[in-house]
């Protein structure tokens, strides 16, 4: 039985290789070999995983080969600008406009330089954590302490999805305690391990992390130097609601909901609570044939209607979130303008 399955597996690989050579011309405007470049250089990260899931479904639906290349943001944008025939498209997340808002090198306004395509999923895991033994119980205590003049150091990766939550907290302090926002200090770090390390070294009071990477740390015994606690998940309440009830690890969906607004509130403008969902979406060359975009919208509509992809996404703790191009573009444009207001308020 096992031998057979191996044989099948190998045969499938070889066949997959040959199939491309002899693939019958499929009924699609896309070339037989579609390349999706992503804005991340990691083949282990969430961008790659989300793209791989969608790529597999698309390959089957359109009967073409789809390949995901982790070239990184700069190279991906550059390729996208150059190739307009639809043989290369891009998948990335909110970083594509946040990088622009934060003025990072290599980022331009994606709504002007590219076409925004359909959204496919959300990574709901963006989280802020304190050390288990931290004197601060919740985010409100941290922000109050800050307003009272204590420096609160937050470990983040600057210039993007990791910084937006920090900017939101700073903005909330600015609104509720004008002039005190300077007490929230960024500790600029790189990878998740660097941010964790900043906490272990006692250089940060609060770190940006994720449900996926940090959940086990929250279950360590209190006397462990590495133990942490969640204080805030930036996701929308309704996003977490859609996760599988088991949640992540031993932390159930119910547990996770405690850390989402309205239970934890960071005000955006004095009335509404700030939320941030990391949403994955396609980007196209500005001059790409609209018929191709329509075809992709259509294919994804069918894929999501079949319902299988949602299960795959949820198993990996991603939230299905399909919006066709037009809807996605309007939605993301609005999202960007809200965050632009926050970032502008802090820099002026």
């Amino acid at each position: 039985m096992k031998k057979l399955s191996l044989g099948l597996c190998l045969a499938a690989t070889v066949a997959g290789g040959i199939a491309t050579t002899s693939a019958a011309l499929a009924d699609t405007g896309f070339p037989n070999n579609l390349r999706i470049v992503i804005g991340s250089k990691s083949t282990g990260g969430d961008t790659y995983q989300n793209t791989a899931i969608v790529a597999e479904a698309l390959a089957e639906k359109l009967d073409i080969n789809v390949k995901v290349d982790a070239v990184g943001a700069t190279a991906a944008f550059k390729t996208l600008k150059r190739v307009s025939n639809g043989s290369t498209i891009m998948m990335f997340h909110d970083q594509s406009y946040l990088g622009y808002l934060y003025g990072r090198k290599g980022y331009e306004n994606p709504f002007e330089e590219y076409r925004i395509g359909p959204t496919v999923s959300i990574n709901p895991g963006s989280a802020y954590l304190v050390a288990q033994g931290s004197p601060f119980q919740g985010l409100d205590e941290l922000m109050t302490a800050c307003a009272d003049g204590t420096d609160i150091r937050v470990a983040i990766q600057p210039g993007g999805v990791s910084e937006i939550g920090y900017s939101a907290m700073k903005n909330a302090i600015r609104i509720e305690h004008p002039g005190k926002e300077g007490c929230l200090v960024a500790v600029n770090r790189g990878s998740q391990s660097d941010k964790n390390q900043a906490m272990f070294d006692g250089l940060a009071d609060l770190i940006h992390g994720s449900v996926q990477a940090n959940e086990q740390y929250t279950r360590l015994p209190a006397d462990d130097q590495k133990a942490m606690r969640f204080v805030w998940l930036t996701a929308r309440n309704q996003t977490i609601q859609q996760a599988n009830p088991e949640g992540m690890g031993q932390t159930s969906r119910e547990d996770l909901l405690q850390y989402v607004e309205p239970n934890v509130s960071v005000t955006q403008d004095g009335e509404k609570n700030f939320t941030f969902d990391k949403e994955f979406f396609f980007l196209f060359n500005k001059d790409m044939d609209p018929a191709l975009i329509e075809e992709l919208d259509q294919a994804l509509t069918e894929i999501f209607a079949e319902g299988e992809i949602q299960e795959t996404q949820k198993t990996s703790f991603f939230i299905p979130n399909f919006m066709p191009s037009a809807e996605a573009e309007a939605y993301l444009k609005d999202k960007m303008s809200q965050y632009a207001t926050i970032i502008d308020a802090l820099h002026n």
Partner: protein
């Protein structure tokens, strides 16, 4: 008992297939274990977790090990961590001892791999608690310690240090990357260069350019004289491999294995530092340090047992902190997530069965790697008999493949090859030394981040001395290492003047 049920024939077949594919990737200059894993990752979707991991671990071990083949036979490091293997492996090969060098390398790799697997199995949680004691300050000192090898590798101290600095400078070109905590601004370039250089020069294209392309250009200048007949004769004259080589290498093996495993454990410090560091230490403690770099087995032993020591080492933070120790294990995190398994400080306790099967897979992968390589070597070593007019074009296209594929399709990386090929060729003419330059280039980026971030956090230079007892111990090692290399240099130059006088 559950463990046994996971160990079906397919499990072992997958490890073997993984190791074989991994070796091929490792042996192609510019293709790495990371790439092997990324390429085969989609295959694991169809497998369950244990089988998927079997394939990935086979690829990992094979990929890390395969790098020694081109390092020894062609003087091109197949992976960055086999850079120090070229220092002694290639001179051995030129003397007709290619097969011997390869076998020494493979045996050392096996030792390093098994040693680190044992360490991983026995001490993972304890070690990860130790590893997090290393903050930026201590990591900077480790990099600094590895950089001291420049002093002992240089033929001329002044030019060697200068070359090392050039290497560091080249590494800084590009963005101070936010993914390591930088501010994302570019430096050392003009606006016009930004579209190409904003990510800086990629490590592997630079390495294969400096080693592979530069060597071909140098040969072209000399007119590509064929010497297969001469090679045949030296090949027959060359010393044969025997396990006796390892008689005096026990300390070296263990020390290098420890260094490899330990460096592998430190997230972010990564592979190349491990073999560089263990090569430095071997040179410092060697009975005949002046011979290192001229083709002695101990150099190959130090380098290869350290870089395979990485495999177990890098799995320590992955499995006990949920943090990858190097870029290859970073891809593995993806495999875990796709199977719905979470890695983190509680992974081992919550997934005992997976943990045990992984250990079996790791050990078996090392054995398979050894079996495949040890017996294939006899044929692979014949590469030196291939006439240059056939071999060099092959090397060129393989370099292109590696360079283009390393970042999943960036043409600038291919141009980097030629740029550094030409640069390396010209540098040799004006006395700039390639080995120190490369080491500076490999370690420069990390040196910057750890140095600048330490100062950013603590605001004083004294922190490097006072941070922790670990820092003080590291300073002790640095001082020793510099003292040793100065002592050796003085001894060597004194001998030279004596010989000149006689």
């Amino acid at each position: 008992m559950d463990v046994l049920s996971a160990l079906d024939p397919l499990f072992f077949v997958l490890i073997s297939a993984g190791a074989a594919i991994g070796i091929v990737f490792g042996a192609i200059p510019g293709m790495t274990a990371t790439m092997a894993i990324a390429v085969c990752l989609p295959l694991t979707y169809a497998l369950d977790l244990n089988h998927g991991l079997a394939l990935l671990l086979g690829l990992y071990v094979g990929g890390i090990s395969g790098g020694l083949v081109p390092a020894i036979l062609l003087n091109i490091p197949g992976t960055p961590s086999s850079i120090t293997t070229t220092f002694d492996g290639y001179p051995m090969c030129q003397r007709g001892e290619g097969e011997r060098a390869l076998k020494i390398g493979v045996v050392s790799s096996l030792f390093g791999g098994l040693f680190s697997a044992a360490v991983l199995f026995l001490f993972a949680p304890v070690l990860s608690d130790f590893a997090i004691k290393f903050s930026y300050v201590e990591k900077f000192l480790i990099i600094f310690l590895a950089l001291t090898v420049i002093a002992s590798l240089s033929r001329n101290l002044l030019m060697g240090l200068f070359s090392g600095l050039i290497g560091v400078w080249l590494a800084l070109i590009g963005t101070y990357d936010v993914s390591v905590g930088g501010n994302g601004d570019t430096r050392l370039m003009t606006e016009a260069m930004e579209p190409y250089l904003s990510e800086g020069f990629s490590l592997l294209p630079v390495l294969i350019g400096l080693f592979g392309v530069a060597a071909i250009l140098k040969e072209a200048e000399q007119g590509i004289r064929e010497n297969t007949e001469g090679m045949r004769i030296t090949l027959e004259k060359g010393a044969r491999f025997s396990l006796g080589v390892f008689r005096n290498q026990g300390v070296n093996l263990v020390r290098s294995g420890v260094i490899g495993t330990f460096i592998g454990m430190l997230p972010g410090v990564g592979g190349s530092a491990a073999s560089v560091l263990s090569y430095t230490q071997q040179k410092n403690f060697s009975k005949a340090p002046e011979k290192m770099g001229t083709g002695v087995p101990e150099g190959v032993v130090a380098s290869e047992s350290a870089n395979n020591g990485l495999t177990g080492g890098a799995l320590v933070p992955l499995l006990s902190l949920g943090i990858p120790g190097d870029s290859t294990t970073a891809v593995m995190i993806g495999a875990f997530t796709l199977q719905g398994v979470q890695v983190g400080p509680l992974f081992i306790g919550e997934n005992l069965e997976t943990w045990n099967t992984m250990m079996v897979a790791l050990v078996f992968a090392n054995l398979v790697m050894f079996a495949i390589m040890f017996f294939a070597i006899k044929y692979v070593a014949r590469v030196v008999m291939v006439p240059k007019y056939l071999l060099y074009p092959i090397i060129m296209i393989m370099c292109v493949v590696g360079a283009y594929a390393i970042n999943y399709g960036v043409m600038f990386d291919v141009w980097t090859l030629l740029l550094f090929g030409l640069g390396g060729y010209l540098a040799g003419k004006v006395g700039i030394e390639i080995a120190p330059l490369v080491i500076g280039f490999i370690l420069g980026g990390q040196a910057e981040v750890y140095f600048v971030k330490s100062l950013e956090s603590f605001g004083t230079y004294t922190i490097f001395f006072t941070k922790s007892p670990i820092a003080m111990v590291l300073w002790g090692l640095i001082v020793l290492s510099i003292a040793f290399s100065v002592y050796n240099l003085v001894k060597a130059s004194r001998r030279k003047t004596q010989e000149g006088g006689a």
